[in-house]
Amino acid sequence: MTGLWTLFYKELLRFWKVSLQTVLSPLVTTLLYLLIFSHVLAAHVQVYPGVGYTSFLIPGLVMMAMLQNAYANSSSSLIQSKMAGNIVFLLLPPLAYWEFFAAYVAAAVVRGLVVGIGVGLAGLWFAPMAVVHPLWLVLFALAGCAMLGMLGIITALWAASYDQMAAVQNFLIMPLTFLSGVFYSIHSLPPFWQALSRYNPFFYMIDGFRYGFFGMSDVSPALGLSIVGGCCLALSLTTLALLKSGYKLRN
């Protein structure tokens, strides 16, 4: 287990050494969203009875920040190691593929949570927040971060350049996050987009996470967690299989 712990620690240290860029900058960006959207829309939108728009927005933004940062952590670390060639330092030692997996996913979860907690605490300054179901909240946060950590690993394994990496980020991850109901409830969408949203796993993460805060959601949290959990399982198996086969790492 020493190998696993060392790799986990190294991954934490990696993002912590550049925390200005990896923690503070996403924190500021998210708070800007909060400031602008809550200011513009607070008077016009009421999603759940008794919940102000700013309060509604905060959990969505927290989850979005967590997902993006979990993804950024594993994907950028791995692609940088691949491009710089220092990935050999991980390939030469007797690390097992599952240790590699566990360390990268765990570090992605930690980065996601650090940024998420930061955004959440800062959000308190904008609107009062209460947590109705803390357990659901934690489960959705962990599952969401883990899932994006795995997606980050898969993308970085596949990508042969920073360009391909950015393409996945911009054309898949960003749209999926933005179209997941961070800024609105999907019930306010036209039927076609509402139906489409139900195929977006990110929607269930944000919806379920919000349930943790308000006890209200668009779909039942149990259904949401089953879907997110199912995606997590499928992605874990895929990532583990890729790492085990040495896909694009051990040619």
Binding site: K10, K17, A84, F89, L92
Partner: protein, 300 residues
């Protein structure tokens, strides 16, 4: 005794490129062994397969008796590899890198050995320097230290002295020689054939993915190296009969390549019969470079 390295009928294809074509090689424990060959011969590819960085298309390899695929954990524990590429992790200092590398090998507290490595590789004052700010030669030595954190019985160095200046190169070899005396098996590739000649007891020469020579350095030198003779003649004229032996002319000397010393008799006789006097004669000692060029020139 289990061989340190055993390479059995290894093939590697990259698409249509057949980079290794049935390599067979065994290196005994305690040997100081050189793997030579021109660029693109397949040396790095072979090392990558041994290290598990790449998989053989066919064939198998063992390190200290452990299969590099089936028993990869033990195989990798037994092997320290200094990669050819000057890679480093820009985020971390030298000591951090060495601590991480120890941890990946399952070693928790390794600072005593890390300090010793830093000392021998003249890196002590760079321990807390970020690796990205080091010079090329220093980065190379950090790679050597990283390969040794787990005290592997077998050490493979892929062109370890490329870009390292002469003095540091001597220090590095002194250190590696010491490791060899302490019982570590050393395998190296290098472009400086004089290094291989003085350091290595045994040599394999690789050409286009095949082993074309495998013997002790001494045997290779005596069996393959032609004797070179430099002659100054009066008059300055080489009889036609000797033209086929001519390898070149320089500074008023004719360079002749002879199969062996005995052939010198015939040359002198021919010269005497042609009434050409020898004013100066030098016999050059055969070296590994000559053997190398000879073997690489030969079509297989």
């Amino acid at each position: 005794m289990t061989p340190a390295l055993e390479i059995h009928e290894v093939h590697k294809r990259f698409g249509r490129l057949h980079a290794l074509r049935g390599v067979n090689l065994a290196v005994e424990q305690g040997e100081f062994f050189a793997l030579l060959g021109p660029n693109g011969a397949g040396k790095t590819t072979l090392i990558n397969i041994l290290a598990g960085l790449s998989r053989a298309t066919q064939g198998r390899c063992e390190v200290m008796g452990h299969d590099v695929v089936a028993d990869y954990r033990n195989a990798r524990r037994s092997l320290g590899v200094v990669p050819q590429e000057l890679v480093y992790d820009a985020f971390f200092t030298v000591r951090e890198m060495l601590r991480f590398q120890s941890g990946y090998f399952g070693i928790r507290r390794n600072d005593a050995w890390i300090d010793e490595l830093l000392h021998h590789l003249a890196l002590t004052d760079k321990a807390d320097t970020p690796t990205r700010t080091l010079s090329g030669g220093m980065k190379r030595r950090v790679l050597v230290a990283q390969a040794l954190v787990h005290k592997p019985p077998v050490i493979v160095l892929d062109e370890p002295t490329a870009g390292v200046d002469v003095e540091l190169r001597q220090n590095l070899w002194e250190f590696i020689r010491r490791l060899n005396r302490d019982g570590h098996t050393i395998v190296l590739t290098t472009h400086y054939l004089d290094e291989a000649e003085t350091l290595c007891r045994r040599v394999a020469m690789l050409k286009q993915g095949q082993v074309v020579a495998l013997d002790t350095t001494r045997n290779l030198l005596s069996a393959h190296a032609a004797t070179q003779v430099r002659l100054q003649l009066d008059p300055h004229r080489l009889p036609d009969a000797l033209r086929p032996l001519l390898a070149g002319e320089a500074a008023g000397f004719f360079n002749l390549v002879l199969d062996d010393y005995a052939a010198l008799e015939g040359v002198l006789t021919t010269l005497r019969e042609a009434n050409v006097a020898v004013t100066e004669l030098e016999v050059a000692k055969p070296d590994l470079e000559t053997v190398f060029l000879q073997l690489m020139g030969k079509t297989t």
